[in-house]
Amino acid sequence: MSRSARWIVFWLGAGGVGTLIVLAVLKLPFGGLVHPYRELSVPAAIGRSSPNIVSSVNFDQRALDTLGEETILLGSVVGAAALLRPSKNEREQLDRDEGRVLEATKLLGYLLLPVTLIVGADVVTHGHLTPGGGFQGGVVLATGVHLLYVAGSYRMLRRLRPTKWYQLAEAVAAGAFVVLGLVGLLLTGAFLANVLPLGVLGDLFSSGTVFFLNVAVGAAVTSGVVVLLAGFLAQALSVREVR
């Protein structure tokens, strides 16, 4: 395609998307007082003991969408892991000398490691009560694990973070989401229906399946991000071409 033809295609596309965005934004009830969706979703969330409305929408009212999103994440992690594995003429070789870590970095890293893991677990398990949930907490947990590399060494990270376990956990957690959905289907005839006891509004163990779906997504996201970063770290630090 010639240069001018490409520009014509670009401007047609950009003009179309731009027009649609302007038309859509003009109709948005931004900052207004009429919220038909809120009127329906807030009572539904409170009625099922999830004060965090966002989590109720994600894991109860529209849990099927979340299953789709989780599958996208699973698919991209599997794809990236397949692309990142060492090829035929590559071997893993660990450097003897990894360089020095500043004492201040070490101190801060080891202090923040347990704090980050606790915050991550808290964000996952309180997903139905406070802002956050499985996805956010999962990413915090996964990045927290890598403080072992920042403050310690790559060898230490590899020893304390067996990639195999995380690959297994990713599959089990994604499967658990589907199993919980099937339980709902069997008991009520609706896939991912909230069938577990709802508990008292505000309690840690309340909101029925929302809590368990949050934990499942938390485990899936943690292991997914860990597997992804493990692939990137291995490629950047230890995979070498062998001639």
Binding site: F135, L228, F232, Q235
Partner: protein, 79 residues
């Protein structure tokens, strides 16, 4: 609140422009990370703490890290 929002929107617009204008991928990872923090600030001001949490973890930590590691791998291959 509105004044703060205007400042946050302007910062996000400026941050996005800086990311686009940074040509060197390793430097771009750093500007992308700063941009991620600015975007987080905007989400907090717009009262979307759930989105802000995702943004700060993914946009300012995981994605720039993956870019930096990819850059290191690509450069290492040329050595």
């Amino acid at each position: 609140m509105t004044a703060l929002l205007v400042v946050a929107f302007l910062l996000v617009a400026a941050g996005g422009t800086v990311v686009v204008l940074t040509r060197e991928p390793a430097r771009q990872a750093v500007t992308l990370s700063v941009y991620g923090v600015l975007l987080t600030l905007l989400f907090v001001l717009l009262q979307a703490p759930d989105v802000a949490l995702s943004q700060v973890a993914v946009g300012s930590a995981v994605v720039p890290l993956m870019v930096l590691l990819a850059v290191r791998k690509v450069r290492g291959g040329k050595r």
